[in-house]
């Protein structure tokens, strides 16, 4: 109940963020731009529209997750609004969880809006819609949840600017982790250990990327989907736990 109230309040606060609307409008413009694309060869054309659409949803969603996420906690501390909340019978982890779920709700609704835009474009351009598209969207949402947790974790102990830099870095490296591993295997000694360590610690964000399956209309086995979901959930839980532990220790001053 408490967590839910905080989540709802966070959601309302997010709705007042101009950044959110700017990013959303950009995303819809990007997706909509496919409407004026020249018809190329049929297969290519479908692939391009899906690629642009999913890419835009992913890119702008991640930007929202990062740039709204980093302010979730730091703004409350800066504005001292946290004083009145933490002094109520609300555990600090409940506060964090509420903030987190609130932004996830915002992201979910954004994704629904962006997806509606994409579906409209697909409809007008006569692109067939396969179920794998929705699976891919689900995985994109899962990636948002992981990124939001990363942003939240950093914002519990560093400033908004640093959190943004760290989270962006993790996002970029997270998509390169398979390369890190192959690169590491070519190296010897310490370099190899470090790169492999990074590979196992950082989130492997590329796993959530099913765009290739969508554009090539390949099915994703249910078992794979389950594995990816479990991985995303477990990773998120780990990040939130870490954030709670750090948040529990800190002074609000």
């Amino acid at each position: 109940m408490k967590v839910f109230s905080i989540a709802l309040n966070t959601f309302r606060e997010n709705l007042r963020d101009k950044l959110l609307y700017n990013l959303l409008i950009f995303a819809l413009l990007m997706i909509g731009s496919s409407l004026i694309l020249m018809r190329l060869t049929l297969g290519e054309f479908h692939r391009l529209i899906l690629d642009i659409g999913l890419g835009s949803i992913n890119f702008f969603g991640v930007l929202i997750a990062i740039f709204v996420g980093i302010g979730l906690v730091s703004k409350e501390i800066e504005r001292k609004t946290i004083y009145t909340i933490v002094s109520k019978p609300v555990a600090r982890f409940q506060f964090l969880l509420g903030k987190y779920l609130g932004l996830c709700l915002t992201l979910f609704i954004n994704t629904v809006i962006m997806t509606s835009g994409l579906l409209a474009v697909l409809y007008f351009q006569d692109v067939p819609i396969h179920t794998v598209l929705f699976k891919a969207l689900g995985m994109i949402m899962l990636e948002f949840m992981v990124i939001t947790a990363v942003a939240l974790l950093f914002s519990t102990f560093s400033s908004a600017t640093l959190s943004a830099i760290f989270t962006l870095a993790i996002y970029v490296i997270g998509h390169l982790t398979p390369d890190l591993k192959t690169f590491g295997q070519k190296m010897e000694g310490a370099g190899r250990t470090v790169l492999e360590g990074i590979y196992y610690i950082l989130p492997n964000l590329d796993r959530f990327n099913l765009k290739g399956h969508v554009t090539h209309q390949l099915e994703v086995p249910a078992g794979d989907l389950l594995m990816i979901t479990a991985y995303g959930m477990a990773y998120t839980a780990f990040l939130l736990m870490l954030a709670s532990i750090i948040f529990q220790q800190r002074d609000f001053r």
């Binding site: 109230s5 609004t81 009145t84 933490v86 002094s87 019978p89 002074d251 609000f252």
Partner: protein, 325 residues
């Protein structure tokens, strides 16, 4: 532990050698904001926490509310360590110059805090209406907080502190930002809370308010407690029986006869102000005035007040004070 906390003279707040050291700046310079504060607040009393700016009042209160952790010592609320949810459920807190979610209306704002205590539905709505009435901002219940004046924010802040009908209310400078009427209303509110059996602790540097309201006060300066006890006792221990005289047309030679008796002499043109610190000195001075045919304009006994104590203690620790704002 449990049976102790049920005794008649129950300690609602208890701190023992509470300390807080802040590290500031790039080099982590240490600042001791609170230095070994031990105090007790009993059930049902109004307790004033006084001290000049930067004395450590807010820091102490933040430790009591679990917002920052002590560097040393312990603090309990209702016998529970601070930060314990069962203790927090019985406490209401108004932070210093509070900031709130300014996009909420007065009612939405209070509803949100009600939810944090698990209050719901019509019972909560009723409580909200009562509180808005109590703090006198019923007219603003559907106005967004960002359109509130400073005093209205302070009032809605007090309302949020009372949403759970707390047994203990901790207010950090509840009168700041309020006009004289608002201050009187807050004073009345505190007295009403006391009447209904609540315990109130508030910080202030408005000594007059503390004198009117408090059963007991503690004075903190530079992080250390310098005085603690019932107002009357603190003042009694400080009596100097000073008398201030204002005299007109006092000839210079008469003034020279008074000067040795006075602890302070101020000349303002034709007028002379002298401060005398014993009854004997007053009698002698009056004789001089009469015989010199000077005119006694005013004779004011200096009532010992918290302010005297405050200023004496403050000058003792060499710290600038801001008394009676």
């Amino acid at each position: 532990m449990e049976h102790i906390s049920n005794l008649a003279c129950e300690q609602v707040i208890q701190t023992d050698q509470l300390r807080k050291v802040f590290k500031v700046g790039f080099w982590g310079r240490r600042v001791t904001a609170v230095d070994g504060v031990s105090l007790e607040v009993q059930r049902g009393e109004v307790f004033g926490f006084l001290g000049p700016n930067g004395a450590g009042k807010t820091t102490t209160i933040k430790m009591l509310m679990g917002l920052i952790y002590p560097s040393g010592g312990t603090a309990t609320l209702f016998g529970h360590p601070v930060g314990d949810p069962s203790a927090k459920a019985k406490v209401g807190f108004l932070p210093e110059s509070p900031y709130f979610y300014d996009y909420l209306t007065g009612r939405e704002f209070l509803r949100f805090y009600g939810h944090l205590f698990g209050l719901l539905g019509t019972a909560l709505d009723k409580r909200i209406d009562e509180l808005l009435e109590l703090v006198g901002i019923t007219h603003a219940r559907d106005l967004q907080l960002r359109k509130f004046s400073k005093g209205m924010l302070q009032r809605v802040g007090i309302a949020q502190a009372l949403i759970n009908d707390p047994e203990l209310v901790i207010l950090d400078e509840p009168m700041s930002g309020l006009d004289p009427i608002g201050r009187k209303e807050v004073r009345d509110l505190i007295l009403r809370l006391k009447e209904s059996g609540k315990t109130v602790m508030f910080s202030s540097h408005i000594l007059h308010d503390a004198e009117l309201l408090c059963d007991r006060v503690a004075m903190i300066m530079k992080g250390k407690l310098v005085a603690c006890g019932p107002v009357s006792e603190l003042i009694a221990g400080d009596t100097t029986h000073e008398v201030e005289m204002v005299i007109d047309r006092l000839l210079p030679e008469a003034l020279e006869r008074i000067r040795p008796l006075a602890s302070k002499v101020v000349l303002q043109g034709e007028r002379v102000m002298v401060v005398l610190s014993s009854q004997q000195a007053v009698d002698l001075a009056l004789d001089v005035i009469r015989s010199a045919k000077a005119k006694l304009v005013a004779l004011t006994p200096h009532k010992a007040s918290l302010e005297d104590l405050f200023i004496r203690k403050a000058t003792g620790v060499h710290q600038p004070v801001e008394a009676r704002v």
